[in-house]
Amino acid sequence: MPPQPSLKSRVEGNVTAVAALERDVELMLRVRDGDTTCFALLLERHRGPVVNFLYRMVLNQAVAEELAQDVFLRVYRSRASYEPTAKFTTWLFRIATHLALNYIRDGKSEKGTGSLDEDVGDGLSIQVPDQSATVEQRMIREAKLQEVRSAIEQLPAKQKAAVLMHKYQEMEYSQIAGVLSCSESAVKSLLFRAYETLRMRLAHLA
Protein backbone atom coordinates (compact mmCIF):
# COMPACT_ATOMS: atom_id res chain seq x y z
CA MET A 1 0.00 0.00 0.00
CA PRO A 2 1.64 3.26 -1.07
CA PRO A 3 2.02 5.66 1.85
CA GLN A 4 -0.47 8.52 1.72
CA PRO A 5 0.44 11.95 3.17
CA SER A 6 -0.80 12.64 6.71
CA LEU A 7 -3.65 15.07 7.29
CA LYS A 8 -1.31 17.51 9.03
CA SER A 9 1.19 17.55 6.18
CA ARG A 10 -1.63 17.91 3.67
CA VAL A 11 -3.11 20.87 5.51
CA GLU A 12 0.31 22.49 5.85
CA GLY A 13 0.94 21.85 2.18
CA ASN A 14 -2.41 23.40 1.23
CA VAL A 15 -1.75 26.50 3.34
CA THR A 16 1.67 26.92 1.75
CA ALA A 17 0.21 26.41 -1.73
CA VAL A 18 -2.55 28.99 -1.14
CA ALA A 19 -0.03 31.48 0.24
CA ALA A 20 2.17 30.95 -2.82
CA LEU A 21 -0.77 31.51 -5.18
CA GLU A 22 -1.75 34.72 -3.44
CA ARG A 23 1.85 35.84 -3.53
CA ASP A 24 1.95 35.26 -7.31
CA VAL A 25 -1.08 37.49 -7.81
CA GLU A 26 0.34 40.11 -5.48
CA LEU A 27 3.64 40.10 -7.37
CA MET A 28 1.94 40.36 -10.74
CA LEU A 29 -0.20 43.26 -9.57
CA ARG A 30 2.99 45.03 -8.56
CA VAL A 31 4.47 44.30 -11.99
CA ARG A 32 1.33 45.89 -13.42
CA ASP A 33 2.08 48.94 -11.32
CA GLY A 34 5.60 49.15 -12.71
CA ASP A 35 7.69 47.10 -10.27
CA THR A 36 10.06 45.10 -12.48
CA THR A 37 11.76 43.52 -9.46
CA CYS A 38 8.58 41.57 -8.84
CA PHE A 39 8.71 40.32 -12.42
CA ALA A 40 12.17 38.95 -11.70
CA LEU A 41 10.78 37.20 -8.61
CA LEU A 42 7.98 35.62 -10.63
CA LEU A 43 10.53 34.53 -13.20
CA GLU A 44 12.69 32.97 -10.49
CA ARG A 45 9.74 31.03 -9.15
CA HIS A 46 8.21 29.80 -12.41
CA ARG A 47 11.10 29.62 -14.86
CA GLY A 48 11.96 26.00 -14.07
CA PRO A 49 8.44 24.53 -14.17
CA VAL A 50 7.59 26.37 -17.41
CA VAL A 51 10.81 25.33 -19.16
CA ASN A 52 10.42 21.73 -18.04
CA PHE A 53 6.78 21.59 -19.07
CA LEU A 54 7.70 22.90 -22.51
CA TYR A 55 10.69 20.57 -22.74
CA ARG A 56 8.49 17.57 -22.03
CA MET A 57 6.07 18.82 -24.68
CA VAL A 58 8.55 19.51 -27.48
CA LEU A 59 11.52 17.30 -26.46
CA ASN A 60 14.13 19.90 -27.33
CA GLN A 61 15.66 22.04 -24.61
CA ALA A 62 16.75 24.88 -26.86
CA VAL A 63 13.27 25.17 -28.33
CA ALA A 64 11.69 24.79 -24.91
CA GLU A 65 13.75 27.67 -23.53
CA GLU A 66 12.92 29.86 -26.48
CA LEU A 67 9.22 29.13 -26.07
CA ALA A 68 9.52 29.75 -22.34
CA GLN A 69 11.03 33.16 -23.04
CA ASP A 70 8.06 33.85 -25.33
CA VAL A 71 5.78 32.94 -22.42
CA PHE A 72 7.41 35.38 -20.03
CA LEU A 73 7.66 38.03 -22.72
CA ARG A 74 3.89 37.78 -23.23
CA VAL A 75 3.35 38.00 -19.49
CA TYR A 76 5.46 41.13 -19.38
CA ARG A 77 3.73 42.67 -22.40
CA SER A 78 0.32 42.07 -20.80
CA ARG A 79 1.27 43.54 -17.45
CA ALA A 80 -0.66 46.79 -17.91
CA SER A 81 -3.96 44.99 -18.45
CA TYR A 82 -3.44 42.14 -15.95
CA GLU A 83 -6.48 41.25 -13.89
CA PRO A 84 -6.38 38.37 -11.38
CA THR A 85 -9.44 36.59 -12.77
CA ALA A 86 -7.70 33.20 -12.49
CA LYS A 87 -4.69 31.79 -10.70
CA PHE A 88 -1.45 33.19 -12.04
CA THR A 89 -0.16 29.69 -12.85
CA THR A 90 -3.34 28.92 -14.80
CA TRP A 91 -2.71 31.98 -16.96
CA LEU A 92 0.99 31.20 -17.26
CA PHE A 93 0.47 27.60 -18.32
CA ARG A 94 -2.36 28.57 -20.65
CA ILE A 95 0.13 30.70 -22.56
CA ALA A 96 2.76 27.96 -22.42
CA THR A 97 0.33 25.28 -23.60
CA HIS A 98 -0.92 27.48 -26.40
CA LEU A 99 2.63 28.10 -27.65
CA ALA A 100 3.58 24.44 -27.32
CA LEU A 101 0.48 23.22 -29.16
CA ASN A 102 1.11 25.74 -31.93
CA TYR A 103 4.71 24.59 -32.22
CA ILE A 104 3.69 20.94 -32.40
CA ARG A 105 0.86 21.67 -34.84
CA ASP A 106 3.20 23.55 -37.13
CA GLY A 107 5.18 20.34 -37.35
CA LYS A 108 8.41 21.84 -36.12
CA SER A 109 8.93 19.26 -33.39
CA GLU A 110 11.47 16.60 -34.34
CA LYS A 111 9.79 13.27 -34.72
CA GLY A 112 11.32 9.86 -35.26
CA THR A 113 13.57 7.62 -33.22
CA GLY A 114 16.75 9.57 -34.00
CA SER A 115 16.07 12.44 -31.61
CA LEU A 116 15.14 10.13 -28.75
CA ASP A 117 18.13 7.80 -28.97
CA GLU A 118 20.52 10.13 -27.20
CA ASP A 119 20.40 13.28 -25.15
CA VAL A 120 22.54 15.15 -27.67
CA GLY A 121 19.65 14.90 -30.14
CA ASP A 122 17.25 17.06 -28.13
CA GLY A 123 19.41 20.14 -28.00
CA LEU A 124 21.52 20.96 -24.97
CA SER A 125 19.60 18.86 -22.47
CA ILE A 126 21.35 19.23 -19.19
CA GLN A 127 20.41 16.65 -16.61
CA VAL A 128 22.24 16.25 -13.36
CA PRO A 129 24.01 12.85 -13.57
CA ASP A 130 23.52 10.38 -10.77
CA GLN A 131 27.08 9.86 -9.53
CA SER A 132 26.15 7.08 -7.13
CA ALA A 133 24.71 4.68 -9.77
CA THR A 134 26.83 2.08 -11.53
CA VAL A 135 27.24 2.18 -15.30
CA GLU A 136 24.76 -0.66 -15.71
CA GLN A 137 22.21 1.07 -13.49
CA ARG A 138 22.63 4.29 -15.46
CA MET A 139 22.12 2.44 -18.73
CA ILE A 140 18.98 0.75 -17.46
CA ARG A 141 17.70 4.04 -16.11
CA GLU A 142 18.42 5.78 -19.41
CA ALA A 143 16.64 3.05 -21.38
CA LYS A 144 13.63 3.35 -19.09
CA LEU A 145 13.66 7.12 -19.51
CA GLN A 146 13.69 6.78 -23.29
CA GLU A 147 10.65 4.51 -23.10
CA VAL A 148 8.81 7.02 -20.93
CA ARG A 149 9.69 9.93 -23.21
CA SER A 150 8.64 7.95 -26.27
CA ALA A 151 5.34 6.94 -24.68
CA ILE A 152 4.56 10.53 -23.67
CA GLU A 153 5.66 11.88 -27.05
CA GLN A 154 3.25 9.61 -28.90
CA LEU A 155 0.22 10.87 -26.99
CA PRO A 156 -2.06 13.36 -28.78
CA ALA A 157 -0.92 16.88 -27.94
CA LYS A 158 -3.79 17.80 -25.59
CA GLN A 159 -3.58 14.49 -23.72
CA LYS A 160 0.17 15.05 -23.38
CA ALA A 161 -0.34 18.53 -21.98
CA ALA A 162 -2.96 17.28 -19.52
CA VAL A 163 -0.72 14.45 -18.28
CA LEU A 164 2.30 16.72 -17.89
CA MET A 165 0.30 19.26 -15.89
CA HIS A 166 -1.38 16.58 -13.80
CA LYS A 167 1.77 14.57 -13.07
CA TYR A 168 4.63 17.06 -13.00
CA GLN A 169 2.90 20.32 -12.06
CA GLU A 170 0.50 18.51 -9.71
CA MET A 171 -2.39 20.60 -10.96
CA GLU A 172 -5.96 19.87 -9.95
CA TYR A 173 -8.47 18.92 -12.60
CA SER A 174 -10.17 22.31 -12.34
CA GLN A 175 -6.93 24.15 -12.97
CA ILE A 176 -6.03 21.96 -15.95
CA ALA A 177 -9.52 22.68 -17.28
CA GLY A 178 -8.78 26.39 -16.92
CA VAL A 179 -5.53 26.02 -18.83
CA LEU A 180 -7.07 23.96 -21.63
CA SER A 181 -10.28 26.01 -21.69
CA CYS A 182 -12.48 22.96 -21.32
CA SER A 183 -14.68 21.38 -18.67
CA GLU A 184 -13.42 19.34 -15.74
CA SER A 185 -15.13 16.23 -17.08
CA ALA A 186 -13.34 16.75 -20.40
CA VAL A 187 -10.03 16.90 -18.52
CA LYS A 188 -10.83 13.68 -16.67
CA SER A 189 -11.66 11.99 -19.98
CA LEU A 190 -8.39 13.24 -21.48
CA LEU A 191 -6.41 11.97 -18.52
CA PHE A 192 -8.13 8.63 -18.38
CA ARG A 193 -7.47 7.97 -22.08
CA ALA A 194 -3.88 9.17 -21.74
CA TYR A 195 -3.10 7.08 -18.68
CA GLU A 196 -4.76 4.03 -20.23
CA THR A 197 -2.43 4.40 -23.21
CA LEU A 198 0.56 4.86 -20.94
CA ARG A 199 -0.37 1.81 -18.88
CA MET A 200 -0.35 -0.29 -22.03
CA ARG A 201 2.89 1.16 -23.38
CA LEU A 202 4.82 1.08 -20.12
CA ALA A 203 3.50 -2.20 -18.68
CA HIS A 204 6.70 -4.03 -19.69
CA LEU A 205 8.79 -1.72 -17.53
CA ALA A 206 7.29 -3.15 -14.33
Binding site: M1, P2, P3, Q4, P5, S6, L7, R10, A40, L43, R47, G48, V51, N52, Y55, R56, Q61, E65, A68, Q69, F72, L73, Y76, R77, L124, S125, I126, Q127, V128, R141, K144, L145, E147, V148, R149, I152, H166, K167, Y168, E170, Y173, S185, K188, S189, L191, F192, Y195, L198, R199, L202, A203, L205, A206
Partner: protein, 163 residues
Protein backbone atom coordinates in the same frame (compact mmCIF):
# COMPACT_ATOMS: atom_id res chain seq x y z
CA UNK B 1 -17.97 2.01 -1.04
CA UNK B 2 -19.27 1.80 -4.60
CA UNK B 3 -16.78 0.63 -7.17
CA UNK B 4 -15.03 3.76 -8.54
CA UNK B 5 -14.53 2.15 -11.95
CA UNK B 6 -18.28 1.88 -12.48
CA UNK B 7 -18.82 5.64 -12.37
CA UNK B 8 -16.88 8.20 -14.42
CA UNK B 9 -17.13 10.84 -11.72
CA UNK B 10 -15.46 8.73 -9.06
CA UNK B 11 -12.90 6.84 -11.13
CA UNK B 12 -10.34 9.60 -10.74
CA UNK B 13 -9.85 8.70 -7.10
CA UNK B 14 -7.89 5.70 -8.36
CA UNK B 15 -5.57 8.12 -10.19
CA UNK B 16 -5.29 10.24 -7.06
CA UNK B 17 -4.56 7.15 -4.99
CA UNK B 18 -1.78 6.02 -7.36
CA UNK B 19 -0.34 9.53 -7.27
CA UNK B 20 -0.43 9.67 -3.46
CA UNK B 21 -2.83 12.61 -3.54
CA UNK B 22 -5.75 11.00 -1.76
CA UNK B 23 -6.54 12.00 1.81
CA UNK B 24 -5.85 9.23 4.34
CA UNK B 25 -9.51 8.60 5.17
CA UNK B 26 -10.51 8.09 1.55
CA UNK B 27 -7.36 6.04 0.91
CA UNK B 28 -8.33 3.63 3.67
CA UNK B 29 -11.84 3.29 2.28
CA UNK B 30 -10.46 2.61 -1.17
CA UNK B 31 -7.99 0.04 0.10
CA UNK B 32 -10.77 -1.83 1.86
CA UNK B 33 -12.68 -1.83 -1.41
CA UNK B 34 -9.64 -2.96 -3.41
CA UNK B 35 -9.22 -5.92 -1.09
CA UNK B 36 -12.43 -7.20 -2.63
CA UNK B 37 -12.38 -5.66 -6.12
CA UNK B 38 -9.80 -7.18 -8.44
CA UNK B 39 -10.46 -4.64 -11.20
CA UNK B 40 -9.75 -1.64 -8.99
CA UNK B 41 -6.74 -3.35 -7.46
CA UNK B 42 -5.29 -4.08 -10.92
CA UNK B 43 -6.03 -0.53 -12.10
CA UNK B 44 -4.34 1.04 -9.11
CA UNK B 45 -1.32 -1.26 -9.41
CA UNK B 46 -0.86 -0.54 -13.11
CA UNK B 47 -1.33 3.17 -12.56
CA UNK B 48 1.23 3.09 -9.76
CA UNK B 49 3.72 1.58 -12.19
CA UNK B 50 3.05 4.33 -14.72
CA UNK B 51 3.54 6.93 -12.00
CA UNK B 52 6.84 5.39 -10.95
CA UNK B 53 7.99 5.27 -14.57
CA UNK B 54 7.07 8.93 -15.07
CA UNK B 55 9.09 9.78 -11.95
CA UNK B 56 12.20 8.71 -13.90
CA UNK B 57 11.88 11.81 -16.07
CA UNK B 58 13.57 14.28 -13.80
CA UNK B 59 13.55 18.01 -14.44
CA UNK B 60 16.28 19.73 -16.44
CA UNK B 61 18.46 22.57 -15.29
CA UNK B 62 17.58 25.74 -17.12
CA UNK B 63 20.49 27.30 -19.07
CA UNK B 64 22.52 29.88 -17.20
CA UNK B 65 21.83 32.62 -19.76
CA UNK B 66 18.04 32.25 -19.75
CA UNK B 67 17.22 35.33 -17.69
CA UNK B 68 19.85 37.47 -19.40
CA UNK B 69 18.50 36.57 -22.85
CA UNK B 70 14.93 37.22 -21.76
CA UNK B 71 15.68 40.66 -20.36
CA UNK B 72 17.67 41.49 -23.49
CA UNK B 73 14.60 40.62 -25.58
CA UNK B 74 12.39 42.75 -23.36
CA UNK B 75 14.78 45.67 -23.65
CA UNK B 76 15.00 45.32 -27.45
CA UNK B 77 11.23 45.27 -27.66
CA UNK B 78 10.90 48.32 -25.45
CA UNK B 79 13.44 50.31 -27.44
CA UNK B 80 11.70 49.16 -30.61
CA UNK B 81 12.63 49.31 -34.31
CA UNK B 82 12.81 52.39 -36.56
CA UNK B 83 9.13 52.44 -37.36
CA UNK B 84 8.19 51.91 -33.73
CA UNK B 85 10.46 54.73 -32.64
CA UNK B 86 9.01 57.11 -35.27
CA UNK B 87 5.46 56.28 -34.25
CA UNK B 88 6.27 56.71 -30.59
CA UNK B 89 7.90 60.12 -31.27
CA UNK B 90 4.93 61.23 -33.32
CA UNK B 91 2.50 60.23 -30.59
CA UNK B 92 4.67 61.92 -27.96
CA UNK B 93 4.93 65.04 -30.09
CA UNK B 94 1.18 65.27 -30.37
CA UNK B 95 0.72 64.57 -26.69
CA UNK B 96 3.28 67.25 -25.72
CA UNK B 97 1.55 69.92 -27.82
CA UNK B 98 -1.99 68.71 -27.68
CA UNK B 99 -3.64 72.10 -27.40
CA UNK B 100 -2.84 73.50 -30.83
CA UNK B 101 -2.94 70.01 -32.33
CA UNK B 102 -6.44 69.32 -31.09
CA UNK B 103 -8.42 71.32 -33.64
CA UNK B 104 -6.07 70.18 -36.39
CA UNK B 105 -6.47 66.59 -35.28
CA UNK B 106 -10.22 67.03 -35.18
CA UNK B 107 -10.19 68.41 -38.72
CA UNK B 108 -8.14 65.47 -39.96
CA UNK B 109 -10.50 63.09 -38.19
CA UNK B 110 -13.55 64.68 -39.79
CA UNK B 111 -11.99 64.43 -43.24
CA UNK B 112 -11.02 60.78 -42.74
CA UNK B 113 -14.44 59.96 -41.32
CA UNK B 114 -16.08 61.62 -44.30
CA UNK B 115 -13.97 59.59 -46.70
CA UNK B 116 -14.66 56.33 -44.92
CA UNK B 117 -18.38 56.77 -44.39
CA UNK B 118 -19.29 58.35 -47.69
CA UNK B 119 -17.98 57.13 -51.02
CA UNK B 120 -19.15 60.41 -52.61
CA UNK B 121 -17.63 63.11 -50.44
CA UNK B 122 -18.34 65.78 -53.06
CA UNK B 123 -22.06 65.66 -52.31
CA UNK B 124 -22.13 65.02 -48.50
CA UNK B 125 -22.66 67.72 -45.86
CA UNK B 126 -20.72 67.13 -42.62
CA UNK B 127 -22.56 66.73 -39.29
CA UNK B 128 -20.41 69.44 -37.68
CA UNK B 129 -22.16 72.01 -39.78
CA UNK B 130 -19.35 72.65 -42.18
CA UNK B 131 -20.49 72.36 -45.76
CA UNK B 132 -17.89 70.57 -47.74
CA UNK B 133 -19.04 70.33 -51.30
CA UNK B 134 -15.67 69.59 -52.78
CA UNK B 135 -12.83 67.62 -51.30
CA UNK B 136 -10.05 70.14 -50.95
CA UNK B 137 -6.84 68.23 -51.27
CA UNK B 138 -4.90 71.36 -50.53
CA UNK B 139 -6.59 71.55 -47.12
CA UNK B 140 -5.44 68.04 -46.24
CA UNK B 141 -1.91 68.79 -47.38
CA UNK B 142 -1.92 71.97 -45.37
CA UNK B 143 -3.04 70.07 -42.28
CA UNK B 144 -0.28 67.50 -42.68
CA UNK B 145 2.23 70.32 -43.14
CA UNK B 146 1.03 71.86 -39.89
CA UNK B 147 1.67 68.57 -38.13
CA UNK B 148 5.17 68.51 -39.54
CA UNK B 149 5.80 72.04 -38.27
CA UNK B 150 4.65 71.01 -34.80
CA UNK B 151 7.00 68.05 -34.91
CA UNK B 152 9.90 70.28 -35.86
CA UNK B 153 9.05 72.75 -33.10
CA UNK B 154 9.30 69.97 -30.54
CA UNK B 155 12.17 68.04 -32.08
CA UNK B 156 14.70 69.54 -29.71
CA UNK B 157 12.60 68.88 -26.55
CA UNK B 158 13.33 66.27 -23.74
CA UNK B 159 11.95 62.76 -24.29
CA UNK B 160 9.97 61.69 -21.14
CA UNK B 161 10.35 58.04 -21.96
CA UNK B 162 14.10 58.43 -22.26
CA UNK B 163 14.38 57.40 -25.90
Amino acid sequence: MDCPLHAKDTAEILLDYAGRRLNPEMAQLLERHMDQCEACHAFASAQRQVWDALDAWEPLEVSAGFDKNLFARIEREQSGGLLTRWWRRTVETLSLSWRPALPIGAAVLVVITGLLWNPHPLTEISKAGRHVENLDIEQVESTLADLEVLKQLNSGGADPAGF
